[in-house]
């Protein structure tokens, strides 16, 4: 019953989306606003409908309806309630539905905005978003149906289908397979939805960009409208990536946080082009330049979102994160081909309209530096894209699979990331329009001197790795410049008689975008500190020791105090070691590395025990590749200096983005609102016309 409701709602939404596309196109081409309005209403309806569908699936999941194929494949009786809910995005079919739901939620929000000044965009925004939505819904409807029931055919096979196949009888397994243990971690619960939200939110700016191209209204209006959407998309994506790193660190049990796995890289690609986009739109907003380039970037970002989703879901790529091979590949492929081609065609049609008189007066001006920054991001993107696509190419040409792993990426992107850091430091100092080396030099000599001093201090403290020193020097340089920007601003305000804290708060509040951006930069700097620390100074060792034995690594020593084995009531068998951690002979912590064996899915999980400080992490893994016994156990221990800076940097990064994204009364809009208020006072606008 519930399954039928869910499926019915899905089908209706699909029809609504198709109708909205048709009505919007008709209304726009024939100049019939009532048709566009009708399309808008259809769009508004899609979200409640999909919510109904999602709720049906959630209800099925939490009530153990194992006769439903999807429910049986991702849940089991033993799973706690919250995991049953999050199983919504734990498998291919459910996560596609969830994706569609997010997509319609965002579109819903866009539809409710005031369209008065942008009427001409509306039909085309509807077309782009609804075509995308209809495509994802069609995947759910025709290929990966989350509501399909299990049936036993006369020849004894169990198959999933929405309606009874000929001669089949309903089949209900006694228990489900359970969620993949890798997905049972808090980080993993939040990581996919945030990533999806990031992906989906980028569809909105893309839709406006396409609307701008179609209507020929190619000024910066589409960028103004979608600025906050782009930032929100970027926020979600960043948050998703950071949580993914944290999840990897906590759960995959390998002491690392970023393995350059193809699926990780596929998620990074739209982030890279999105970051470039966020920077280059500022040039268009300030100077009216780079219109082409912004279009290219937003099209690229959308394309990479779809392409990345395709890669991870079609079975073309294989990875720990990838979904199993699926029949959605060909549909996706067709969709990609069509959307890429149409976007490109539209862009080329308007190419000449987008021309602007680009003029760079100085190679150190802010617009020049932003252009360079964009190029660096594109460089990283090229390397990463090639790294993802190359194994495919190799298999096609040579018939042999190859791995493109960390050594490739690190060597290729390392210098580019360093360059990015430098630009990140210098660009904010430079002025729009014109900047001279002399003027910049005056601003950077103090940070540069301080950075050199920092390096000297590090050398005295015993850091000897040349590249690490170069890295830390760069990071320090950029950090001092960025902090200097805050100090300069605060000092300027203090000269007007404000106390420090007020000056700082007002400084940020009055120009959220600028200072939010700087806070993001500070977050990046902190993350860079952590990455340099773990990259150059991490160490590890492994040994099998008897109970009471110990392993030493650097300043740390761990002793194996005991082992507990028990069954947890959520269907795990747990082997948990009790380990004392000593630093320089003093006991600092007790940690419990453990190995969980999930009975339903028959998979082990290795959960590390970590003693974490802002200086370093001591990370202990109960290695499961040798028999664990009370007498002796094998441990692998990692010393990860500065790794916490990555997470703290991540938090700062997110705070900065929030500051930048927080609604700020746009002077233009505020003026319009005031005007509108006046107008409303004179002649009340009927509700229907406001829309």
């Amino acid at each position: 019953m519930l399954a039928h409701i869910g499926y019915g709602a899905l089908l209706l939404t699909f029809l609504l989306a198709l109708y909205a596309v048709a009505a919007a196109v008709y209304g726009a081409l024939k100049g019939r606003p009532e048709w566009v309005e009708s399309a808008r209403r259809a769009v508004v309806l899609t979200w409640p409908m999909l919510t109904l569908s999602v709720l049906s699936l959630v209800a099925l999941l939490v009530t153990n309806q194992f006769q439903i194929e999807y429910v049986a494949s991702v849940t089991s009786r033993a799973m706690p309630l919250y995991l049953k809910i999050t199983a919504l995005w734990g498998g291919q079919a459910g996560s596609l539905l969830f994706w569609s739901w997010l997509m319609s939620a965002f579109t819903f929000a866009v539809m409710l905005r005031s369209w008065q000044r942008d009427r001409e965009f509306l039909p085309w925004v509807i077309v782009v978003t609804m075509v995308t939505l209809a495509f994802f819904l069609s995947l759910n409807l025709f290929v990966e149906n989350p509501f399909a029931r299990l049936w036993m055919t006369p020849d004894g096979r169990v198959i999933g289908a929405m309606f009874r196949p000929h001669g089949a009888v309903p089949f209900t397994p006694r228990d489900g397979n359970g969620l993949n243990p890798l997905l049972r971690h808090p980080g993993m619960i939040a990581h996919p939805p945030l990533l999806y939200a990031g992906f989906v939110a980028f569809v909105i700016p893309y839709a406006f960009a396409m609307a701008a191209l179609i209507t020929g209204r190619t000024d910066a209006r589409w960028i103004h409208i979608t600025r906050r959407w782009s930032l929100a998309a970027w926020l979600f994506l960043s948050l998703g990536l950071i949580l993914g790193m944290r999840w990897s660190y906590d759960v995959l049990g390998w002491g690392g946080y970023w393995g350059w796995d193809p699926v990780e890289v596929a998620a990074l690609l739209p982030w890279l082009s999105g970051t470039a986009f966020l920077h280059s739109v500022m040039i268009q907003e300030k100077e009216g330049l780079l219109k082409h380039w912004n279009m290219v970037l937003i099209i690229l970002t959308y394309a990479l979102v779809i392409f990345g989703t395709f890669l991870t879901r079609s079975g073309v790529l294989s990875s720990v994160h990838a979904f199993a091979q699926s029949a959605i590949g060909p549909l996706f492929f067709g969709f990609i081909g069509i959307t890429f081609s149409i976007s490109l065609f539209l862009l080329m049609r308007r190419w000449d309209d987008l021309k602007s008189d680009m003029r760079i007066e100085s190679l150190l001006s802010r617009e020049a530096l932003f252009t360079f920054n964009n190029m660096v991001f594109m460089g990283i993107l090229v390397v990463s894209f090639w790294g993802v696509i190359f194994p495919i190419l190799s298999e096609l040409v040579t018939g042999q699979k190859v791995t493109v792993g960390p050594p490739f990426y690190e060597k290729a992107t390392g210098p580019l990331f360093a360059l990015m850091l430098i630009l990140m430091g210098i660009a904010p100092l430079s002025a729009w329009g014109f900047a001279s080396a002399k003027r910049l030099g005056r601003l950077i000599w103090i940070p540069a001197a301080l950075a050199v001093a920092t390096v000297v201090v590090l050398v005295i403290l015993g850091v000897r790795s040349v590249w690490a020193l170069v890295g830390f020097g760069l990071v320090a340089f950029v950090a001092y410049i960025t902090l200097g920007e805050f100090i300069r601003g605060v000092r300027a305000r203090m000269r007007r008689g404000e106390p420090v804290h007020v000056a700082l708060a007002r400084l940020i509040a009055r120009n959220r975008r600028r200072y939010g951006g700087y806070i993001v930069h500070l977050g990046v700097i902190m993350m860079a500190v952590g990455i340099i620390g773990t990259h150059f100074f991490a160490s590890e060792t492994q040994a099998t020791i008897p109970q009471g034995g110990s392993i030493s690594l650097g300043h740390y020593t761990m002793t194996y105090d005991g082992l507990q084995e028990f069954y947890a009531n959520d269907g795990r068998h747990v082997a948990r070691a009790i380990v004392s951690v000593y630093k320089d002979g003093k006991k600092v912590a007790t940690v419990y590395p453990r190995r969980d064996f999930y009975l339903d899915s028959q998979q082990p999980m290795t959960i590390p025990g970590v003693r974490s400080t802002w200086l370093d992490d001591f990370y202990v893994i109960l290695v499961d590749w040798q028999p664990i016994s009370v007498q002796g156990a094998t441990f692998k221990v990692y010393h990860q200096p500065l790794v916490n800076w990555i997470w703290m940097g991540g938090i700062v990064f997110i705070i900065g983005t929030l500051v930048a994204v927080w609604p700020e009364p746009d002077p233009e809009e505020a003026a319009a609102k005031r005007k509108k208020k006046r107008a409303t006072r004179q002649r009340p606008v009927p509700r229907s016309a406001r829309a």
Partner: protein
């Protein structure tokens, strides 16, 4: 107690000998009737870290927890005991399990493309950037003693140009403040 101490010394010796062997100074008289050297887990992991598990996707061999990986690590241990070098072990893995066990494509034949294409594309991008910049670049006429000319020459150190840096920023800030308050 005494024997334990002995073991430590022995272990240390073995590590030293191995380090020496790995240095490649002498191809080690492995045929001596001395007992086969003890290979520590760390040595195994160091080699395994450079290899990828041939069956699990994108998991380095040193961190992979499956039974199969345990067998391969055991194999690496035996190979190390027999005095194989890291390169030999890697070659063995490639011969037996295919090129995908390496963390990056080998630099041969078609796979060179992996290393050639990104720099080529980036260089092409730089060239395009250079051309576009040339097209866009129209330096401000050095009228007020400011500008590129002044920078390049450094001959006319007109202090007003330099001091305007701070002032310019503050002016912007002040302007912002005025506008917003």
């Amino acid at each position: 107690m005494k024997t334990r101490w002995l073991w430590h010394v022995l272990g240390l010796l073995v590590v030293l000998v191995l380090a020496w062997g790995a240095w490649g100074v002498a191809p080690a008289h492995a045929a001596d009737p001395t007992p086969t050297p003890v290979i520590t887990d760390d040595q195994v992991n160091a080699v395994a870290h450079t290899l990828y598990c041939p069956v699990c996707e994108n998991t380095p061999l040193d961190v992979c927890g499956t039974q199969a990986c345990a067998q391969w690590r055991e194999l690496i241990r035996q190979q190390l005991q027999q005095g194989w070098t890291v390169e030999q072990i890697q070659q063995y893995f490639v011969d037996n399990y295919g090129a995908r066990v390496l963390a990056a494509p080998p630099r041969e034949g078609f796979w060179w493309l992996a290393y050639v294409v990104p720099p080529a594309v980036i260089l092409a991008g730089l060239y395009i950037l250079y051309r576009t910049m040339k097209q866009w670049y129209r330096p401000r006429q050095a009228t007020a003693g400011e500008g590129e000319a002044a920078d390049a020459a450094a001959a006319s150190p007109s202090e007003n140009a330099a001091s305007s840096a701070d002032d310019d920023y503050l002016r912007r800030l002040e302007e912002e403040l005025r506008r917003r308050t």
